[in-house]
Amino acid sequence: MKYINTAKQIIAILLVCLVVGVVIISEHSWPEGARDYLFAHAFEDTGATNTVSAIYLGYRAMDTLGETLVLLVAITGTMAILVNLGKDTIEEEAVHFCLPPEKRAKNALRTHLLEVVSSKLGPIVLLFGFYVMLYGHISPGGGFQGGVIVASSIVFLALGTETKSKLTNTVVLSRIEAIAFLALVLASISGVFFETGFFGNPIKPETDLSANFIILLNIIIGLKVGTSIATMCIAMMGGRHDL
């Protein structure tokens, strides 16, 4: 019985990799039509110098909306599965990262280094995250990358127990996430009322303000990604399971 199974697996791998191999290995020149058009028109269409964010927040903004939905559903699903994961065992509970020093078990291997570094490093990484988010349309970066860096800074703050800031409170985080998602949907619908259709840029392309729509989208997506990943990481690190 065992051989039939491995034989099946080998046949499956061979068949699929035959077809995929032909598509990957075959030699073909890369089309330059899209690149030339963007090189000429990207700036005055969307006002963004970084053509990649011009595409994924301007021309193909629908993909970014789909991507944010995938992130939202994945994190909601993970949280739903995490919540009824059941309580950890007692000694696991004691070693949790987020417990203040006096409540934690003595044998938890937590050097002082982590506390000093994390509470000092947190604000700097937060600042860098917002920089990457806000300058998305000029220098490389943008909504998602900025959001993840903001999320890692929030995790730093949650690790360090000296700074008890509201930022690491999961209720506040999920509120910001809900507002950001609502703002994203409203921003995408706003194009409809300015007759440029769904996900259109409500600001007229000619004016030099048209980059603001991309900045707005970057901020909203950055906040949403940052808060949702931070919420998940804090819940994973044994923070409050009260979601």
Binding site: N50, V52, S53, L85, V132, P140, G141, G142, F144, Q145, V148, I149, A151, S152, V155, I229, C233, M236, M237
Partner: protein, 78 residues
């Protein structure tokens, strides 16, 4: 130069799959993400490099380590 980094990535990938201790595999995977982020910067794709480094290496490693903490670290040699 690309070929060197790509073969290193392939080696890390195969090591990650064959290694018995899952924690070593996770470290190999995050090294793989970091190397591909380096390759993207060399291929003039800075946006994708930041995403791969921050999202690929950062968040994936946190999730994998959390999953390992809740299950078992050594793979059963059945």
């Amino acid at each position: 130069m690309n070929i060197l980094i790509l073969s290193l990535i392939l080696a890390l990938g195969i090591y990650a799959l064959l290694c018995k201790d899952l924690l070593h595999s996770i470290i190999a995977l995050s090294a793989l993400s970091m190397l591909s982020a380096l390759l993207f910067t060399m291929l003039r794709a800075p946006d994708v490099a930041i995403t791969e480094a921050a999202v690929g290496a950062g968040v994936t490693t946190i999730i994998f380590v959390w999953a390992i903490r809740h299950t078992q670290r050594r793979e059963e040699d059945s």
